[in-house]
């Protein structure tokens, strides 16, 4: 066997292409004669449309077609509810183009197709719309009151869903409590802001009847299925390709955004390729958002600090529609007890419609909010009981001997009971304390204070249920000429390095270099069974599917090589792209084995000529291909997880607050992280660090500023403050590797991990820093300079 590549820091296969500017994103695909789409979007949060006049727009030179809801035939319906749940009341989804009413600023009303985007936008501005504005209510608590303006007339009190989950006997726990801590926390609206906005291009070939759609989506196979069904085409005639995609973070997995249906429709109707490239403003007012939740959390504790019960009642803002069901709120409610034993839990949420962009999962998916609630409550409990913040956590963390740790009664997003599979929580907490220098912090803080500087220690733990099913597949094939290995799976990638980590998994089985493994995904013509890239599931679900498949191919290679070299299978080892007789210099290249495994009579290349020097790859009588035998070295297999794998971590930081400027500077940041066995630690760290940076954005800067009338006041990257390098401190990331017992590779997901705990850490640190000034508590994110100013003002500064 070659050196094991699983676990190695291997540079990415995809990088040279991306670095040379040879990546192919949707808008990079040359489509001769392509037409360009632009949308007219609602300028009101809630209004009735009394008139749409497209006449002037239609006359505009260069305009090809204009579509309103009256022009899109069978597409003029509400789009699918992706994940139904009985706790929803009359769930509402959006129409591709508004009919009669608009429900948020940015909702699509008309689509213009023109010779170029400039012209299409000009024409969209020429469409005349008469709106009758309706009253709106954006405050969640107010929106639930009787008489509040309704987003949807047929949904009373704007109550989209109401759900209660209970684990153990929370009432008894609260009755037995020696101390109860209760706080209210809030996280505000944010957005993924991937660097590439969404994009769709479509071409219909009237000769073959094939519709090809390039979609910067995280879910090409699902989009393909949906398009085939909407347009009543054979699935075989619809090809969806997610080429290089410039970040996703959950935002690119909604089915459907209006453009994903309307662009293919226009391409079919007009007989020309049509392209829609979302601009940044549209990404802010049209593509999914997340985060707003208000939690009232109570902890029932003993005097020792042991938490015996938790009650959390929260409001969840779902925006104007609920296409993804209750996923975000459900994940939040099942993550609420974090890594703590807390045996008795009552968690209730109300999902509320507001006339804003719809809410669907954004990296973290409810976990940052749940983490903020429980961790801020743990800090408060520690304060009230006079305990150190590390100590209170130490007394409540699940210990190693307690896994698997079940939360009876709490159903996770996969519909299964929350079961934390493995971990070393206490060890992680200890590592965080050591790496941060927690033991010396009090002295450091006192010294800083004597110099008039305010530093604080922040701390938070998190868990993340990852690797959701139902399944993914893998296809592995050794190319007969080159000996290179081709791997397919049903996912798409937005920068996570699938092409390299999946290559590492296969390389170990087949004895090839990861650079000789070519991973092709994101194309329904390459592999069309599967789900999508979301929920930190690629490594767990596709990774294990590919692993299983690679073992099957390995066994085929071993058998064929043993036949060709006329030795026992046990005497064969695979390395350096060849099968070797152990302890000898006899070998047969993989390419030759692949060639010989195909009973074709032509020898038109070197591999084929090489193959003829050996005994046949298959020992059997009768026809060249034995009954039940397949040509080549190839296999397909699937992996379906029994339940989610739970990753976790501990973050800690030292922050400095300038009470004059009300700014926060992160002086030190430590992340202890465990996602089971790491396939490529370099890529894991990249994922974690990217998440931390996004978390810092969410903790301090990124806030979608909806006005009371429902207009988004900061729909640009100039006003919605994504951190630059200047805002991101050095971070120390340390790993633990507790294998998951649930899958052959022992891996857990990592995609979302980094962002979850950051807000809680920063608030914890800022609060600690300003304690000497008597400042109030910090229980809202993002934690803005004005919140600090107001806390200091209230404290009389």
């Amino acid at each position: 066997m070659s050196t094991r590549t699983f676990g190695a820091r291997i540079e990415r296969n995809v990088d040279p292409k991306l670095l040379r500017g040879e990546g192919v994103f949707v808008d990079d695909i040359p489509l001769p004669q392509a037409l360009h789409a632009a949308f007219l979007r609602s300028s009101h949060a809630r209004a009735r449309i009394s008139r749409i006049d497209v006449a002037a727009a239609r006359r505009h030179p260069g305009v090809v077609e204009i579509y309103t809801c009256d022009d899109i035939g069978a597409l003029d319906v509400e789009m699918p509810l992706l994940i139904p749940h009985p706790c929803m009341t009359n769930p509402q989804t959006q129409r591709p183009l508004a009919r009669g009413d608009v429900y948020y600023v940015g909702q699509t009303i008309a689509m213009v197709v023109a010779v170029d985007r400039y012209t299409a936008e000009d024409a969209a501005a020429l469409i005349e719309i008469d709106y009758e504005p309706l009253p709106v209510e954006l405050d969640l608590a107010q929106a639930l009151r009787d008489g509040a303006p309704l987003v949807h007339a047929n949904v009373p009190n704007n109550l989209a869903a109401h759900f209660v989950q209970t684990s153990g006997t929370p009432d008894e726990a609260f009755a037995a409590a020696e101390h109860v801590t209760a706080i209210t926390v809030q996280v505000d609206r944010s957005t993924a802001a991937p660097m590439e906005c969404r994009a769709v291009a479509a071409r219909f070939d009237a000769i073959s009847g094939e519709l090809t759609v390039w979609d910067g989506t995280q879910a090409p196979i699902s989009v393909r299925g949906g398009l085939a069904s909407v347009f009543e085409l054979d699935e075989d005639k619809v090809r969806v390709i997610a080429p290089d995609v410039g970040g996703g973070f959950g935002q690119k997995v909604l089915l459907f955004y209006p453009d994903e249906l309307l662009v293919p429709m226009a391409a079919m109707q007009l007989g020309r390729p049509v392209k829609y490239i979302e601009d940044r403003r549209e990404n802010f007012i049209g593509s999914s958002q997340e985060r707003t939740q208000i939690h009232r959390i109570e902890l029932a504790a003993l005097k020792t600090g042991e938490v015996i019960g938790l009650r959390d009642v929260f409001l969840h803002d779902t925006g104007a529609f609920i296409p993804y069901g209750i996923a975000v709120a459900q994940v939040a409610s099942t993550s609420i007890a974090g890594p703590y034993r807390i045996p008795n839990i009552f968690v209730e949420f109300k999902a509320v419609y507001t006339p804003t962009v719809q809410v669907t999962p954004y990296r973290g998916c409810g976990r940052p909010q749940a983490c903020f609630a429980i961790e801020r409550a743990m800090d408060q409990l520690a304060d009230e009981l006079g305990l150190d913040r590390f100590e209170i956590r130490r007394r409540n963390l699940i210990s190693e001997s307690q896994f698997p740790y079940e939360r009876e009664g709490l159903l996770f997003a996969d519909g299964l009971k929350v079961t934390l599979d493995s971990g070393q929580y206490l060890k992680a907490l200890g590592m965080a304390a050591t790496e941060l220098g927690a033991a010396d912090f009090a002295a450091l803080q006192a010294k800083a204070l004597s110099e008039g500087r305010y530093i604080g220690l922040g701390l938070a733990c998190y868990v993340e249920g990852t690797g959701l099913g139902p399944y993914e597949g893998g296809h592995v094939k050794i190319h007969p000429i080159t000996g290179k290995v081709y791997v397919n799976t049903g996912l798409s990638t937005q920068g996570q390095g699938h092409d390299t980590v999946f290559a590492q998994i296969v390389a170990d089985q087949l004895g090839v270099s990861p650079s000789d493994v070519i991973v092709v995904e994101g194309d329904t013509k390459a592999f069309d069974w599967g789900v999508a890239t979301f929920a930190s599931r690629a490594a767990v679900v596709s990774g294990n599917a590919i692993h299983k498949t690679a073992i099957t191919v390995r066994n085929k290679v071993l058998q064929a090589a043993a036949n060709m070299l006329d030795v026992d299978i046990a005497d064969i080892e695979l390395r350096d792209s060849a099968a070797w007789v152990k302890g000898s210099n006899r070998f047969v290249p993989l390419a030759a084995i692949a060639t010989a495994s195909n009973p074709l009579r032509y020898a038109f290349n070197k591999a084929a000529q090489a193959a003829t020097q050996f005994a046949p790859a298959s020992k059997h009588d009768g026809p060249p291909l034995a009954e039940g035998e397949a040509p080549g070295l190839e296999a397909t297999d699937y992996y379906s997880p029994s339940m989610s794998t739970w990753a976790y971590g501990v973050h800690a930081a030292i922050v400095e607050v300038d009470p004059g400027l009300c700014t926060v500077k992160i002086r030190k940041y430590v992340c202890i992280h465990d996602c089971g066995n790491m396939i490529n630690p370099m890529i894991v760290e990249g994922q974690v660090m990217g998440g931390i940076a996004q978390g810092i954005g969410g903790a301090l800067y990124e806030h979608l500023d909806y006005q009371a009338d429902g207009n988004l006041a900061n729909a640009s990257l100039a006003d919605f403050l994504v951190p630059y390098a200047t805002e991101i401190p050095d971070v120390s990331i340390l790993h633990l590797e507790t294998p998951s017992p649930l899958n052959p590779l022992g891996v857990k997901g990592v995609g979302e991990a980094g962002c979850i705990a950051v807000g809680a850490v920063i608030a914890s640190g800022v609060e600690d820093a300003l304690r000497p000034l008597g400042a109030a508590k910090f229980r809202q994110l993002p934690l803005s300079p004005s919140m600090i100013a107001s806390a200091l003002e209230q404290a009389g500064h």
């Binding site: 290089d244 990249g686 990217g690």
Partner: protein, 175 residues
């Protein structure tokens, strides 16, 4: 489905056009384009140099950074006609003709300084531009952060990009 008649389709807008002549990656090019065409669209869609990416079209994210007469500039805030007579360099010109990566590109690869790769061309052009200036580089933590402060990245959290700048300086003997 019965086949429908092919619709009559407009083939041009009524935009005023203008002849622009400039140097792109060392080659002289001239095209007649709309007076309002952005330089980013000109490079990407007129010349097919799609390595220059567009992330915001309001000059904040830096994805579209190219070198304009050697200086990093936003091609999304520059009209093609404004580039008339200038020398533009894009990401496509950075690696050698045989594909060998430039030290800045090599450093990004070694340091895992990219994930989705969308911001990467703008990052690389900005860094290459700054490295080509004659004044000394400030390779302190703050200095590198300042150098990168015009480019957003949503994937990496920047630390590996900072490491890549340092590594590139090492590879180019600039440290």
């Amino acid at each position: 489905m019965t086949r429908k008649m092919r619709p009559a389709i407009a083939d041009r807008s009524d935009d005023e056009t203008v002849e622009v002549a400039l140097t792109v990656n060392g080659e002289s090019v001239s095209r007649r384009v709309s007076v309002r065409m952005l330089l980013s669209d000109f490079l990407r869609h007129e010349l097919g140099l799609t390595g220059t990416h567009v992330g915001c079209e309001h000059g904040v994210c830096g994805c579209c950074t190219v070198l304009i007469d050697g200086k990093p500039g936003r091609s999304c805030l520059t009209l093609a006609v404004q580039a008339n007579g200038y020398a533009i360099r894009t990401i496509e010109s950075v690696a050698s003709a045989d594909g060998t990566l430039h030290p800045v590109q090599q450093a990004f690869k070694e340091c895992h300084g990219l994930q989705c790769g969308y911001c990467t061309p703008g990052m690389v052009m900005n860094i290459v531009g700054r490295f080509e200036e004659s004044q000394p580089l400030d390779l302190s933590d703050d200095g590198i952060r300042d150098l990168l402060s015009g480019n957003l990245c949503r994937c990496t959290g920047y630390l590996n990009i900072i490491a890549a700048v340092r590594r590139a300086a090492e590879l180019m003997g600039r440290n």
